[in-house]
Structure formats: C-alpha cells, structure tokens
C-alpha cells in the first residue's frame, strides 16, 4: 500500500538518507513555474526523474544510473497526485519497497517561504518545447519580455537536416557562419557582425537555438553534421560572446520538439537581413580565452583549463577527429569526460538529450576540483563540446567561465607546446583523475 506523507514528516525524513524524486519535467525542476506555483525550483536534494521517462522501456536503467536503489527510502512528488501514484506503482513493480508519496508540493512547500527550494540560477535561458511553441503562437511566454525573436536551427554543412523537418518559422544557420573552417575558432568581429546581420540578428533580438542529434558516427566524413545540438550550443556561446543579450537554448534540441508532438515544417524560411547588429563585437570578450591566456591559466592557482574530451582522446589513444593527427592532452588541464567520443556529450545529457541534472554535473566537477571560485576555461578539440560544458557552468551562475577556443587543435598545431599521453599518475596529481559516469 502506498503511503502519503505530510510536509512535517517529509522534513523529518530529509534528515535521514532518503531519496526524494521529482517527477516533474526537467524545466520545472530547473526553475520554471509551470503550474503557477509561488516559487519555481525543487526540494533541495531531490533527484530529477521526469514522468516522461516512464515511457521508455529502459526507465529502470535510468533510475539505477541515478543511484536510486531498491533498498533506498524513496519519496516521490510531482504536480499531480495521480502521476506520483503511477510512478510509485512502477517502483513497487521493480522491487522497491520503501516508497512514500508527497502530495503537498504546490500548496504547501512552494508557498512557504521558510522552506528551501533550489533552482538552476539561469534556468530562463534553457527553454522547453512548450515555451518555444508559446513564443511562436504569440502567447508571450513566461520570462520573455522582448518584442523580437528568432528561432535558429543550427547545423554543420547539413541543410538537409533542416529541410527534412524543423520548428516552424525557424531559419537555418551553418555553424561555419560563426566559426572559421580553417581554425574552427570563432570568426573575427567583422565576420561575426556580417553573419549575424545576414541572419536577422541584432544584439537585442531574443535568439532561440536548437539542433538535431542524428546519431553521429565517428567514421563518417563529417560526423559533426549529425551532432547538430552541440553545434547549436556552440553558436549560443559565440552569439553571447558577440553581444546577443538574450540567448535561449531549446533543452534537448529538436528531439524535445518532436517528443512534444508539435508541428514540423519543411519550409525553407528566408532570412531577413538587418542593417546593424547594434553592439560592438565582442561585447563579452571575457567569455573566450585564447592560447596565451590558457597557458597563464594552467600556471595559476586561481584558474583551471577544463578538458571536455573523451577518455580515449585524453590518454592519447585517438585524436578524436579525422582532420587532427596529433594525439594527447594539454599538461595541467583538468579532465571532465564528455562521453564516448568527439561528437557525443552523454556525460552532460539525459537520455533524451536534455541537459543532465545540474547537481550531478556540479558534483562530478567538484570531485575533480572544478569549482566556481576559479576562472575556468572549458575546451575540447575545436570548441563544440567545450561550449556545451561551459553553457552548463554558465547556467549554474558560475561567475568566471570561458571557452578556450583553440582547444587541442590549436594547441597541438604548435610543436613548441608540451603534451602528454598515457594514463595519468593519479597518485601524484589528484586533479587529473578521471571523472564522469
């Protein structure tokens, strides 16, 4: 039989090692007030396990992955009691016995200012498909107070990804418009200004970015063409560097739009050029770090370079890219495992490509000494994965976070730069130990 608990009892239980599970969407967990609750966010310590994921055959695997185990005491809460009830039954079926349901989140927890809530500090920049749909429908969604917006489907030399189905009204943008195909770094201020103006973007335009994850295969000629959502976040970084004041990323990319069942368009939407970007580029130069500064950061006690590459790249087994021959890592950089290879970010994403629960990322980073008190520059091979990790840190409100734009490509192109290969000696340097899943 399922047991309900009161707010007082929940507070008591929180002193024990109970596992609190938040069934609401990732957006509600992050801070969006989807049911007009008084305060957005979640109960401190709660794990995010959206009801949507119970549609997946492998749901229980996600549960175990979050270290929610059969012997744990579990408290489930969400917006609707029937949803909590449904999930509690699933847990019961999976062999979990100690389950409570808390049904007073909206009417007691969120209304009582004395009870704590946690939220992702910059949650408003990570939007849901519902939010984008409301924007497109002219409904002035929550946390939007602008009169001009543009939805951008980002891709790398893959207009077919856009033309085969995109969010209605979205224009397409090739990542090469913003990064140079020679260095893969951000383009010059003049080039960025021209590209942004050609796409109808000014510093005051709200830009909503997303991409399409199309199962990248490292053996393909252009694997990045299938890793569109990492590319979209790369574009978000460059736009913020340039000076676009309100950049939003559709959480989960096109997958979330499809999952929500909204209309998909195949129209080739024409771009409406604007006369002037209106802001001197770069408005936020501190967001990007180049090699000379990266070298200073390695030597500084107050800063860290964060290597967002895969383990095989980190130990020098592979370069990660078919156009980079050098294998190895930058000595002194702290490793923050991206996932399987140069075109995947599994360690930073949920299984539906939404961003991973930010507390989990923060905890993994902290174990490796990646903390918000330092100036951090995230990098990878050419900037995509580094940008996605950076975006996570920025959403968390970390004050001094940048992308080391050159990354391994630029570093390894200079034969004078040192590099390391092999498995690091953890005993001598705790800071480089492997983190991740």
């Amino acid at each position: 039989m399922l047991r309900e608990i009161s707010t007082e009892r929940l507070i008591e239980l929180m002193r024990r090692r109970v596992k609190i599970i938040d069934l609401r969407s990732v957006e509600a967990y992050n801070g969006w007030k989807l049911q007009n609750e008084k305060r957005g966010g979640h109960i401190p310590g709660a794990k995010s396990l959206p009801l949507k994921w119970t549609n997946y055959m492998d749901w229980i695997e996600i549960v175990r992955h979050k270290e929610i185990l059969p012997h744990d005491e579990i408290i489930i809460y969400g917006y609707q009691p029937d949803e909590s009830h449904k999930v509690a039954l699933l847990f019961g079926k999976a062999g979990y016995e100690n389950i409570w349901i808390y049904n007073n989140y909206i009417n007691e927890w969120s209304t009582n200012d004395y009870l704590p809530v946690d939220k992702l500090p910059r949650y408003r920049h990570l939007v849901s498909a519902n939010w984008v749909n409301a924007l497109l429908s002219g409904k002035n969604p929550d946390e939007y107070d602008n009169d001009k917006y543009i939805v951008v489907h980002a891709h790398y030399r893959n207009r077919d990804a856009y033309l085969s189905g995109h969010i209605p009204g979205a224009i397409d943008m090739d990542t090469m418009e913003l990064e140079s195909p020679e260095t893969w770094n951000r383009r010059s201020p003049g080039e960025l200004k021209k590209a942004l103006e050609q796409h109808g973007i000014t510093g005051d335009t709200t830009v909503v970015l997303y991409g399409k994850h199309m199962n990248p295969d490292n053996d393909d000629e252009f694997p990045g063409s299938a890793a569109g959502h990492i590319g979209a976040i790369r574009c978000a970084f460059i736009m913020m560097y340039a000076g676009v004041k309100d950049v939003r990323v559709l959480n989960g990319g096109f997958q979330s739009w499809e999952d929500a069942g909204f209309e998909i368009s195949i129209e080739d939407v024409s771009k409406r050029m604007v006369a002037d970007f209106g802001v001197n580029i770069p408005a936020n130069p501190e967001l990007a770090v180049d090699t000379h500064e990266a070298k200073e950061m390695i030597l500084s006690k107050d800063a860290d370079l964060v290597c967002v590459r895969s383990y095989p790249e980190y130990i020098g087994e592979v370069s990660g890219y078919n156009y980079i021959s050098a294998k190895g890592r930058i000595p002194g950089a702290v490793f923050a495992d991206c996932g399987s290879d140069a075109y995947h970010m599994e360690n930073y994403r949920n299984l539906d490509h939404t961003t991973r629960e930010y507390h989990e990322i923060e905890e993994i980073w902290r174990k490796s000494g990646i903390t918000p008190d330092k100036h951090l520059a995230f990098y990878c091979g050419t900037g995509w994965r580094g940008s996605e990790a950076w975006f996570n840190a920025w959403l968390m409100g970390w004050p001094r976070v940048s992308v080391y734009d050159g990354g391994w490509f630029e570093w390894s192109n200079d034969p004078h730069n040192p590099y390391e290969t092999g498995i690091p000696d953890f005993s001598n340097n705790e800071r480089v130990k492997r983190v991740g899943l």
Binding site: Y56, D58, I62, L90, H213, D217, S340
Partner: protein
C-alpha cells in the same frame, strides 16, 4: 528457419508480455543467454562507434552462413544485440543484406527506448548490414578471381 520466421517468433514472444518493463526484462534475459564473445574480438577493430556503451560486433562466414558475435558492457545494449543476432545468425550474407528487420518496430524497440538507446540500436543494425555487405563483396571478389 528463415529470417522472417525468426522475427515472427520474437514478435510473439514479446507480444505475450503485459507492459514495456516486462519487455525490458526479456531483453535483458536474451542478453544473458547470448554466448560469451571471444576476447580476441573485444578490440577497437570490432568496436561499434556512436553507441553510448562499449559494444563490439564481429562476424565470420562458416559454410556460407554468417555467424555474428557481440558483447557490451551494458545489459540493455547486450540484450538489443542478442535479439538482432538471433534473427540474422545462420543466414547467408545475401539474406542478411536484404533483410527487413521489421520486428524491431513490432516489439516496440524503436518507439519505446530512450533516444540514446534507440541510437545504439540503430548502430547495431547498421554494423550488421555493413558486415553482411562486406561478406557479399568478398564472396563476389573470390568468384571473379
């Protein structure tokens, strides 16, 4: 049995189950029943890229029939590989290249897996076809030489 008979058998097996979690358990069971893969295949050469978990698939042709071997460090990926291999094992390379693996849709593997796992399944199927195509090509080259 031909490929479609085996597919239909698997569809019946999964259809008898109540919900998708029971299907998940059955998938895991298939994975546990799959013969262990020889260590010699667990190298980069046989690794399937684009799958979140580590996965290896190798094949050989014995008496004109394809024998596939697979393993993964993930239970569910191993299970997915096991059901696909059950369908394509002991078939000729030509039959495998032409196979329409409709059972994947019928048993809900395509629609009820999380997107990342669904991508893993796509990688498995892609590799199976690649290996079969390779065997067909090799066979044709032998016939011409």
């Amino acid at each position: 049995m031909d490929i479609n008979d085996i597919q239909d058998q698997i569809i019946d097996e999964f259809a008898s189950l109540e919900d998708r979690f029971e299907k998940y358990e059955l998938l895991i069971k298939h994975g546990m029943q799959m013969p262990a893969m020889d260590k010699k295949y667990k190298t980069d050469r046989y690794a399937v890229k684009g799958c979140q978990s580590r996965l290896w698939i190798a094949s050989e042709v014995i008496d004109g029939r394809m024998i596939f071997h697979a393993d993964s460090d993930s239970e569910i990926v191993r299970g997915m590989a096991a059901v696909v291999l059950k369908v394509v094992n002991n078939q000729s390379p030509d039959q495998v290249t032409k196979a329409d693996l409709y059972f994947i849709y019928e048993i809900g593997l395509r629609n009820h897996l999380s997107p990342v796992r669904a991508n893993g399944l796509a990688s498995i199927v892609k590799r199976i076809y690649e290996l079969a195509h390779y065997s067909v090509t090799q066979d044709q080259e032998r016939n011409f030489s």
